[in-house]
């Protein structure tokens, strides 16, 4: 593990409170994670776990009235306290974003070429001609068939998988250092998903890009992530290499998630649902938020909020009971 490497993006004890009616609801609490150059770092969790909100907080994209505290160190600055003007220079240029649904993230009335070249001309100050050439090259890099013809085509003329490739081309346009991919393959067929995963992994390995992958799908995580952070109810419950976290989970929530999934290589095992459900933010259980659903919960779990404990460099979990300690 790259313990010694300095992460490109270092998020430390980040808290996010969102304004709802006339009160503040805490949706992200004390979140730490790192993003390394040339690696795919993943954040996984169910919907409502705070993974997307964390990403939006880093990019300064949260609605007005939200309160963010903590740090997100990137290139000598703290993104969480940067001015909007400075953030605007980082966002889209150095840290690019790929959204879940390219159907809604691409503009339906503008050609692919315009969406690509506007972006490049704004950040890189290229001439119209240079921008066109650069854009066609980008479409080629993400393996859009016939890039020159695609330059003048509109988003609706492409399939879901191809649209996602175009969204990736736009993200790559300004030579970012970090790409944040929020559910990049959700809603795609597995056959198409596999192609996108190959492309993302290649971007990490060949170009040394840092990728922050946000997904609820542990299969996708397992395929391309080097490191995984599991979130539950706005907190990090476990973090480590993908092999450790997915292969031998230490937190009961991670283990429960894995037990609910069909495992292609073990088709005979039963699917075990997690009892109960994650309540809405603002109505979270006391103590460890997972305790009402946890089969290992003890009395202390309902009153004490477990801190993230580092068991060895780069491997942490937040569980008071730690039921899998003996098996490791």
């Amino acid at each position: 593990m790259e313990v010694g490497d300095e992460p490109l993006l270092k998020v430390r004890s980040m808290n996010v409170k969102l304004a709802a009616r006339n009160r503040l609801i805490s949706v992200v609490e004390k979140v730490d994670f790192d993003v390394f150059e040339g690696k795919v770092s993943g954040i996984a969790g169910e919907s409502g776990s705070g993974k997307t909100v964390s990403m939006m907080a880093i990019l300064g994209l949260l609605p007005h009235g939200s309160i963010v505290s903590g740090h997100a160190f990137y290139g000598g600055q703290d993104l969480l306290v940067s001015s909007e003007k400075r953030l605007a220079k980082v966002r889209g240029k150095e840290i690019a974003l790929i959204m879940q649904d390219p159907h809604s993230s691409l503009h339906p009335m503008l050609s692919v070429g315009v969406q690509l070249s506007d972006h490049v001309r704004h950040h890189l100050k290229l001439s119209r001609e240079d921008a066109r050439e650069h854009s066609i090259d980008l479409l080629h890099q993400v393996r859009i068939p016939n890039p020159a013809a695609s330059f003048t085509a509109y988003p609706h003329q492409f399939s879901g998988g191809m649209r996602q490739r175009i969204a990736i081309a736009i993200a790559l346009a300004c030579g970012p250092k970090i790409i944040i991919a929020d559910e990049p393959t959700t809603g795609l067929d597995v056959t198409v998903q596999a192609g996108i995963l190959h492309l993302l992994r290649e971007l990490g390995e060949r170009r040394g890009l840092a990728i922050l992958l946000i997904t609820h799908d542990l299969g996708v995580m397992s395929a391309i992530a080097d490191r995984v952070t599991i979130m539950y109810a706005g907190r990090v419950v476990e973090t480590g290499t993908a092999e450790d976290v997915i292969g031998s989970p230490r937190h009961p929530y991670t283990a429960a998630l894995l037990a609910a999934l069909p495992h292609p290589e073990r088709p005979e095992t039963d699917l075990v649902p997690i009892p109960g459900q994650l309540g809405p933010p603002g109505l979270r259980p006391s103590g460890c938020a997972f305790h009402p659903r946890c089969q290992y919960a003890k009395s202390q779990c309902s009153s004490v909020v477990p801190d993230l404990v580092e068991v060895r460099p780069g491997r942490s979990h937040a569980c008071l009971v730690d039921p899998f300690m003996a098996t490791l």
Partner: protein, 340 residues
């Protein structure tokens, strides 16, 4: 007591447009208590087939029979009561539930339609909610008060309210997270085993279908390319498309094995490729595949496949083996069995 589809073809026609054959001569059977999984990529015609099976679409040719009687397309008149036992859960629970009525009332609609007496309705309602793991106070709430997973379960409860013997579920797992998906899968399996409900489960997710289905039918561009007992199809796929679908499923072991990508995209059904519809994307395609389309043959009892590589005539297979020197080795590679 079964659902039979015989050579069902569904063609969509529009003004001045080329007709779109979404389903081409599909023959399929679902027995009571049996779960049949229908899998394939989006655009393969699975949903059209499902709608034709309940009568939401009128087949262009072929016929659908439920318990031996033909299923009539839904029109303005009430359905014959013999078809009440055939129910469907539509794909999107955000659109298929009425946003302005409580879910309890919507579930009771199906009971009224099946002439369940009023005094039994409340008991049946709470029983259904219990079976699907929904809280008892669910009945008084409106659809917007639920998560996607809960809405999906409400939609299943509504379909079950008519006490069907045959259920068609279109992408029931699509909007669910892992835990809700596991829960619904288990509920469906119990319904099949204990109440003998037959099910046609339409899904793009072969991994979850493998878990609950007795049989699997794989569909590509309107036709069934392979069918058989679920565990057989999974462990020894005969059609290259089935192999590709299985190989594309990511393994959840944290070892970083990339799933195998299938090149190309499903073709436009209005303009399907010549010969075998899968040949432009098939890693084993040879000369015959481009010209003639393979027919569905019985490879072993209960196991059907439409692929020239599985043709009973050795001469046909051999003509392919020339171009594809070692097709067994490459199929292992496609499945990613030995990849790191």
């Amino acid at each position: 007591m079964s659902l039979e589809l015989e050579a069902v073809t569904v063609v969509f026609r529009g003004n001045g447009r080329r007709p779109v054959p979404a389903v081409v001569e599909v023959t399929l059977q679902v027995e009571r208590g049996q779960v049949v999984g229908l899998v394939g990529e989006s655009g393969s015609g699975k949903s059209s087939l499902g709608k034709a099976a309940v009568g939401l679409l009128r087949p262009t040719s072929g016929c659908v029979r439920f318990n031996g009687k033909p299923v009539s397309a839904i029109g303005r008149r009430a359905r014959p009561s013999s078809q009440l036992g055939l129910q469907m859960v539509l794909q999107n629970p955000f659109e298929s539930l009425n946003p302005r009525r409580t879910v309890g009332n919507q579930i009771k609609d199906a009971m009224r339609a099946s002439h369940l007496s009023k005094r039994l309705q409340d008991a049946r309602l709470s029983q259904l909610l219990g079976v699907l793991g929904l809280a008892p106070d669910t009945a008084g709430k409106f659809p917007h008060q639920f998560s996607g997973g809960q809405r999906q379960r409400v939609a299943v409860a509504r379909a079950l309210a008519a006490s069907p013997s045959m259920l068609i579920l279109d992408e029931p797992f699509a909007s669910l997270d892992a835990s809700a998906q596991a829960q619904l899968a288990n509920v469906l399996r119990v319904l099949a085993d204990e109440e003998q409900v037959g099910m046609l489960v339409i899904s793009h997710d072969l991994a979850i279908v493998r878990h609950i289905a007795d049989r699997i039918a794989v569909m590509y561009l309107g036709t069934i390319v392979e069918s058989g007992v679920a565990s057989d199809v999974w462990s020894s796929a005969l059609h290259p498309y089935t192999e590709a679908l299985i190989g594309a499923i990511p393994k959840v072991d944290g070892r970083g094995a990339l799933p195998i990508a299938l090149p190309g995209e499903i073709a436009d059904p209005a303009n399907p490729p010549s010969g075998c519809r899968f040949h432009p994307r098939c890693p084993h395609a040879f000369a015959v595949c481009q010209v003639d389309s393979p027919v569905l043959i019985e490879a072993s009892p209960g196991r059907n496949v439409a692929c020239w590589l599985r043709h009973p005539d050795e001469a046909v297979r051999a003509s392919g083996a020339d171009g594809e020197a070692d097709s067994d080795a490459s199929s292992d590679e496609m499945l990613g069995r030995d990849s790191v």
